[in-house]
């Protein structure tokens, strides 16, 4: 069965850019969440193989989502990428310290994202 990637990003344009980049790879299924709350809803319902999340979001921020996933017995093994912006190094370091597996800095190229996904989902 095709592996499933959960994309959490509050900007619809950014989200659709990431989604189309993933879909262009052909072999993955995509689940979208517009905020951390939606991601929390999706996690117990779908078998997710990889999470990609933005840091700066309303409600719960990306770091809180990382902390939740990486401390939860059921989800901690799911690889997780954080997306951050130039200039927010401190938040990025915190994300990595909380257990994120990789990070991307906006703007990134489709190839960068695809390479990273392949590294974790081979």
């Amino acid at each position: 069965m095709a592996k499933k990637i959960l994309i959490t990003e509050d900007s619809p344009t950014m989200r659709s850019l990431i989604v189309s980049t993933v879909q262009a790879m052909g072999d993955f299924q995509v689940v979208e969440a517009a905020n951390g709350f939606e991601a929390l809803r999706i996690l117990p319902r779908e078998k997710i193989d990889l999470v990609i999340t933005d840091i700066n979001m309303p409600d719960i921020n990306g770091l809180e989502l990382v902390s939740f996933i990486k401390k939860n017995e059921q989800y901690r093994r799911i690889p997780l990428f954080i997306i951050s912006t130039e200039g927010s190094e401190r938040d990025r370091e915190k994300g990595m310290a909380l257990g994120a597996d990789a990070y991307l800095v906006k703007p990134f190229s489709p190839e960068e994202l695809q390479k990273l996904i392949r590294r974790f989902l081979g």
Binding site: S11, L17, E38, S67, N72, P107
Partner: protein, 680 residues
């Protein structure tokens, strides 16, 4: 992803950027209002920061370096502001407005042409000077010496750390509020709890609790800064199972589940358990649609309406041929079709309607900026912002309203000293009002300035050779002169409101929307400009008429009544034809003359008069035949024919024939102005 920006991706970018601008603008207006006190709401700052941040991220992905760079600088400034490193003041807010203005122009430019750019150095310079002029190059404070769980600190963003410190500085208690929710409704319930806590202090962060199995529900830990004690918070929240733990400051049994004592107090309303079906719903229920898609839908609906008209014709023909039974059946079916079509048409029309607040919000920015440019104090009062209009009309209204507002601030509102000398408050007021009146929406821009001096208008018109010295013109006729091309009451055209655009252009813009503009002014008491506009432009009911063997359509919403008159009832006053109608004199128009048709001057024994009106103006149009009402789809005449006067557009009739739709507003003004000119 910058090499291949598809048109649809760009459109999506524009749409989202527009949304961000709209939100930023509102937020900045609010920030401006708080600038006097120097104290700002952290949620507001964070929302502004996120707007700039999202825009920067988006621009980067599309390779729009200029937007990215400006967004980056703006974000830098906002970051310093929210971390308390630069003070909140008027100059900072102005700089942010400047940056937003430039961003808006950049994004609009790219919408037209992807490689559009602007020189952003001036605004970058302003941002930098605010940043470096600020008190603080202070290093970010670090949460040392605060005895907190490192696990808790590890999930806080830099901003949240700053907020935590600020709360401690204010001597507030730091509490951890832990609550559990059902998975089907946690977002709503959590939002309720958060709103309640915000009234008592500040919610610094919201952390979902990791230790549980999500399918059993979900818990959150909220970090709260408040002057209240844990017990007070627990009793306010009234939630069974709520735990309030003091972290710093508050005395209390550490870890006591203070909420437990309320456990019996209120049973939670039964939660519906539609988890399976409801859980993946997104929180927003809005869809963003390109207006062009709606235009296509509207056109299809329009064509269906026409097709239905053709079927109705066939019903009549069947009946005339004696096929009564089939005719009646077909008529029944057609009626059902007609009702459903009406609903469909109404539905599509409703989707196109947007509140005028979309426009008014942008105008608050204009008022603020223009008032600043002229060094005047002006407040804006808005009412009726939820009045709805067709999106297309709202878009087209933007330029005329900006012009009217510029005029009001430049020419209308007096300087503070002049105002206090006249016994008025120093701060002038502009009121923007919208209201629905039947099929029309009236938008008024009213200022409480010096009003228009009608005598000066007359002098000016005489000196410009527009009227002769002795011309006998009424007050209203004199005010109408303001709409003549090239008219300006100021001796030197102000650089800002001049711009080569006069009220004549505003008037033409409004006419092309089948609308009308009127002035009401009192010397010393202010001026009100009223725009009367149709609610929608797409499909209208029209009265089909015939004049000199030509067919025209008159939009039914401007038809007041139709009369049949004898030619003897027509009188001529000062070379103008009029009739008496219920004790008033109604000026008449002969379309044959206006449009220079062959036979245009031929008088008939009996003719019909269609009385048309907009706002409180009335004119009678003399026609040869009334052909009945019909739905028509109005199409623009296009750029190439935009100079043609007297027509609002072309319309298709069911039988594939195209006819012209009269521009009632234009004809009325033309006729009434013609009257004024006839006096000269």
């Amino acid at each position: 992803m910058s090499e291949k920006n598809s048109p649809s991706a760009i459109r999506e970018f524009l749409g989202e950027a527009e949304d961000i601008f709209e939100k930023l603008n509102l937020d900045l207006v609010e920030l401006g209002e708080r600038a006097d006190s120097g104290e700002s709401d952290p949620d507001l700052l964070n929302s502004i920061f996120r707007g700039a941040h999202s825009l920067k991220g988006l621009a980067g992905m599309f390779g729009f370096d200029d937007i990215g760079e400006l967004g980056h600088h703006m974000e830098g400034l906002l970051d310093n502001l929210r971390l308390g490193k630069v003070p909140l003041n008027e100059i900072l807010v102005e700089t942010l407005f400047d940056a937003l203005e430039t961003l808006t122009r950049l994004v609009h430019g790219k919408g037209e042409k992807e490689d559009f750019t602007l020189d952003i150095k001036p605004v970058l310079g302003r941002i930098d000077s605010v940043l470096h002029g600020g008190a603080g190059q202070a290093k970010a404070q670090i949460l040392e010496g605060v005895d907190l769980d490192p696990a808790l600190l590890s999930v806080l963003t830099e901003f949240e750390e700053h907020r935590l410190l600020e709360n401690l500085k204010k001597g507030r208690n730091l509490l951890k509020v832990k609550a559990s929710f059902d998975l089907s409704s946690f977002d709503r319930d959590l939002a309720d709890l958060t709103a309640l806590l915000k009234k008592e202090g500040e919610v610094i962060s919201t952390l979902p609790s990791a230790s549980e199995d999500l399918s059993q529900g979900i818990s959150f830990e909220l970090l709260v800064g408040t002057a209240r004690t844990p017990e007070q918070i627990a009793s306010l929240a009234e939630r069974p199972g709520l735990e309030v733990v003091p972290l710093v400051g508050a005395e209390g049994e550490k870890g006591a589940p203070a909420g437990k004592m309320r456990e019996e107090a209120s049973a939670e309303p039964a939660l519906d358990t539609h988890e399976e079906s409801g859980s993946l719903r997104s929180i927003s229920r809005m869809v963003r649609v390109d207006i062009e898609k709606l235009d296509v839908l509207m056109n299809i609906v329009g064509e269906l309406v026409l097709a239905k008209g053709a079927i109705s014709d066939m019903v009549d023909r069947l009946k005339a041929q004696g096929n009564i039974e089939l005719g009646a059946d077909l008529q029944k079916a057609t009626r059902i079709l007609e009702r459903r079509l009406e609903e469909l048409q109404k539905g599509v029309m409703e989707v196109r309607m947007v509140p005028v607040s979309q426009l008014f919000d942008k105008l608050t920015r204009i008022v603020r900026r223009v008032a600043g440019e002229y060094g005047k104090k002006v407040g804006l009062e808005i009412s009726g912002a939820d009045t709805e209009l067709d999106k297309l009309i709202v878009e087209e209204l933007s330029d005329p309203l900006v012009h009217i507002i510029r005029n009001a601030i430049d020419h209308g509102i007096e300087s503070a000293s002049e105002r206090s000398a006249a016994g008025k408050s120093e701060k002038g007021t502009i009121a923007l009002r919208a209201s629905q009146k039947g099929n029309h929406v009236v938008i008024e821009v009213a200022d409480d300035g010096r009003g228009i001096d009608v005598d000066r208008v007359r002098q000016k018109a005489v000196s410009k050779g527009l009227i002769s010295k002795g011309a006998d013109l009424g007050r209203e006729e004199l005010l109408d002169l303001l709409f003549l091309p090239g008219f300006s009451t100021r001796d030197e055209v102000s650089e800002l409101s001049g711009r080569g655009v006069g009220m004549d252009v505003v008037k033409n813009n409004i006419s092309s929307l089948s609308g009308m503009i009127e002035i009401d002014t009192r010397k010393g008491g202010g001026t009100t400009m009223s725009l009367t506009l149709p609610i929608t432009l797409a499909i209208i009911k029209a009265l089909i008429i015939k004049v000199c063997e030509r067919t025209y359509a008159i939009p039914i919403n401007s038809v007041m009544e139709t009369l049949m008159i004898d030619s003897s009832a027509i009188r001529t006053i000062e070379r103008r034809e009029v009739i008496e109608l219920r004790q008033t004199t109604l000026p008449l128009i002969r379309l044959g003359r206006v449009f220079n048709l062959p036979d245009g001057d031929r008088k008939r024994e009996r003719s019909f008069v269609v009385v048309v009106g907009l706002a409180d103006k009335r004119v009678g149009i003399i026609v040869d035949e009334l052909m009945g009402q019909q739905d028509v789809v109005i199409k623009s005449l296009g750029e190439a024919l935009s100079f043609v006067r007297g027509f609002a557009g072309a319309a298709e009739l069911g039988n594939q024939k195209t006819i012209l739709v009269l521009d009632v507003g234009g004809l009325i003004t033309e006729t009434l102005r013609g009257e004024a000119a006839a006096h000269v």
